[in-house]
Symmetry: C2
Subunit: 319 residues, 2 copies
Amino acid sequence: MNKLAVVALGGNALLRGNQKGTIEEQVQNTTDTLENLVPLLKEGYNLVIGHGNGPQVGNILMQHDAGEQMYTIPQMPLDVCVADSQGAIGYMIERSLRNVLRKHGINREVCCVVTPVVVDKNDPAFKNPTKRVGRVYTKEQADELAVSRGWVFKEEVKDTVSGWRRVVPSPKPIGIMNESIIEQLVSQGVIVIAAGGGGVPVYIDEAGNVCGSEAVIDKDLASSLLANRIKADEFYILTDVPYVYINYKKPNEKKLEFLNKADTDRYLTEGMFGEGNMAPKIKACLQFIEQGGHKSVITEATKLSDKSYGTKLTLEYED
Amino acid sequence: MNKLAVVALGGNALLRGNQKGTIEEQVQNTTDTLENLVPLLKEGYNLVIGHGNGPQVGNILMQHDAGEQMYTIPQMPLDVCVADSQGAIGYMIERSLRNVLRKHGINREVCCVVTPVVVDKNDPAFKNPTKRVGRVYTKEQADELAVSRGWVFKEEVKDTVSGWRRVVPSPKPIGIMNESIIEQLVSQGVIVIAAGGGGVPVYIDEAGNVCGSEAVIDKDLASSLLANRIKADEFYILTDVPYVYINYKKPNEKKLEFLNKADTDRYLTEGMFGEGNMAPKIKACLQFIEQGGHKSVITEATKLSDKSYGTKLTLEYED
């Protein structure tokens, strides 16, 4: 049996912060990133690709805002915006990957499945929205939108810009719709692009109906959950550093090549990982091995071809 | 073996021209339309749902235009905009259909597959773009965009508005990517949402690479091609009339309940169907039965429960 890996690409792997975000840039970034998956495919891995959507869904929200102001087109809620981004990014990954596979003579099907991800509507995150999305508003605009749409705002001071930004909840993913379809496709060797942007957030109401949720789901947690549900062997988070470090960028910085559950728990308790950055990735990796996965890896995309790179997280240290 | 039907929903089945296009309106329209598919499902049909995206991709183009003007966010090309709309509309259909199925106690999986559709880059349509998309520009703006982006414009005078609109080619679909995946999923009873908006237009270049195409594909032709490729038994186009008519809205108007290939060919040659409206639908239906399908039906969604309604097109008249 081929091994199954779920690989979560960061949003920046596709659209970088210092770029304008033209289609040419996005296709080039995507192709460069996907080239790094070739070694896994040549080893015969089955593969699911998850991806972020931060910069893209940010653009979509701004475009909806502008479209409403200029052309009175109603803005769509966040779940629909995430679905938008799954379609567009999924297509770009599929197209680029087909061309990369062709270049390397690898014969695999590629398919993007729009993926709703279930959250609990009683998740405490709904009482404490923290994730900043969309444009910067003035105090007056924010107050008006708080009344007319029920949006919640927090003040933001960043560089020379200050103003108010909408904050939305980031609840925990608890279920992956279409997980059985995804599992079945990958078992046949299809490379499936799924749970993009953390998944389209939905909840199940009292009557049992599926409803859209104005939230965003952490993409690493969603990919990790999906990896468990489809019984993946390995879970990769591709980011912009080759290893995880403790005391990152301090004089006593230490590179971590191997982590077991006990040490990881301890480091997390001690706050040794950046809270807004590496800690959520570590938690997603930990969740994967606690729920039955064999190994989680955090590394740079370009380091995938060399297995000596990357921080490997397993339940117990391996010999 | 269960029969397999491909049902193509009009863009207006989801978002109506006289509505503002809020999410509440779209979900309600979608749910109402999908309710009409329940009789087919209760008969045990396997099902693929195609759909239009005219009003939605129109909104996306306007939002991209506004986002560029207000926030300098680069506009995405048409293929990416269609992929956007497949994600958003596919999600809305999936969510609404899950709730409709639940209400009727039908236990089926539902899944939206992002679907690139291949066109020939030498299709004559590329030399004669005809499909109007996006906002209305002034002559000066149109001239500038023609130079800076290579867009083609045609003058438009409609009601009180006059100006210039971008026109794009509408080439013939010649291949459906992921057709084998779609076929396999439906054979297991999964209701698959596919080829939305006519599919994400792509072409294969000389080197064999998949490239995005700035075009739109007729959604009925794409659904018809998909229906053939996955060996569907029946192909339905749901529109806003219960039957096809000849001499529509004239004193000698005649309702057509049954059509065979010979009569259909003759009526088409005689120009008996509206060129911009019913003729393309008839051609899509004809293509389906010519390529091996058993029956094509054109009718209103609300008439699906009563098989006496609808214009049925078969190779030969049936007894």
